[in-house]
Symmetry: C3
Subunit: 134 residues, 3 copies
């Protein structure tokens, strides 16, 4: 009985520490409205819930958000990337296809071997998924 | 052995009672084709499977579907919202950003504090997710 | 201790055999760029990870990819459909709405009673989900 109570208590503490606001944003559009939308969502989420974890994965046509001379939201990306609960990850396959070098990425932007697998893995780990589109 | 059989039986009854047709539709587009698409899907799902649960979450540019003088599908929204297995939920953050008041929403339309969190929570509870786009 | 080690070993073998690269692509757009994007992703995924399972579900306006005289990627669909880890599935409700007959579908393309339920079921089984959009 004591064991059962302790287990319940441990679980409820665990739940309290994990409000489950983890979301991966899928960006495959390069237009500036989509870029601004993605950044507004990241800003609003982290402001409303500072412990929320947000990851923006770019592949397909979505790379410009993270590229120095192409991003419509360069300053915001650089600032948000310093937040340990925010990550910007670019697909290396798409970078190779589009001849984008790591040196062209904004400070703090990361790369992943495969953007789709990154998203699938996050979903498998229980993260929510939102496609950025309008 | 008897216990094992009973457990199996209970599981299969449970599965029968939970066909798991629960889906959240993510609408962030305001064009009338997207509105009509969302409504057609809600209608078709509930007609094919009356116990299915469908929720349309609107944020970003997706609010017009639920706004009295802007919706291209006002009557359909009002009718479908009377179905207890259907919900239309608008993000309060987007409403504030876009100066939309609750009084402007169609009858039966609900609000949620954060549309993205609403979707993430539903996914976490096992609901399927479909982005409305074309 | 031996039991513990065996269990660990079994788990790691299981993990190796299930890299969990299962993804359903949701296509509701008929434009040729979306078609080419979907096909490029399927090709890249299966090339990078031959055991990955990929399913493209077409409904709404997404049917042209799979229709003989309308597909911009007919040869690629026919070739990829021979891969036992790849499936192209068209929603029968959308086919009826749009007066598309099974005989018009490319070789190897399958039909499902309800495209949205197909996607929701796959998500429920733990597959990842990616919306094709740009």
């Amino acid at each position: 009985m004591l064991l059962f109570t302790s287990t319940l208590l441990a679980c409820s503490l665990l739940l309290k520490a994990q409000p489950n606001y983890k979301v991966v944003l899928d960006l495959t559009s390069g237009d500036s409205i989509s870029q601004q939308t993605a950044i507004r969502w990241v800003s609003e989420i982290t402001k409303a819930e500072p412990t929320a974890q947000v990851e923006v994965v770019m592949f397909g046509k979505g790379l410009p958000l993270a590229i120095k001379d192409k991003s419509a939201v360069a300053d915001a990306v650089t600032n948000l990337a310093t937040n340990k609960n925010v990550a910007f990850k670019v697909c290396s396959v798409a970078m190779a296809n589009q001849k984008v070098d790591k040196s062209q990425l904004l400070p703090g932007v990361q790369t992943v071997p495969d953007g789709i697998y990154e998203i699938v893995s996050k979903q498998h780990e229980g993260w929510g998924y939102i496609k950025v589109a309008h």
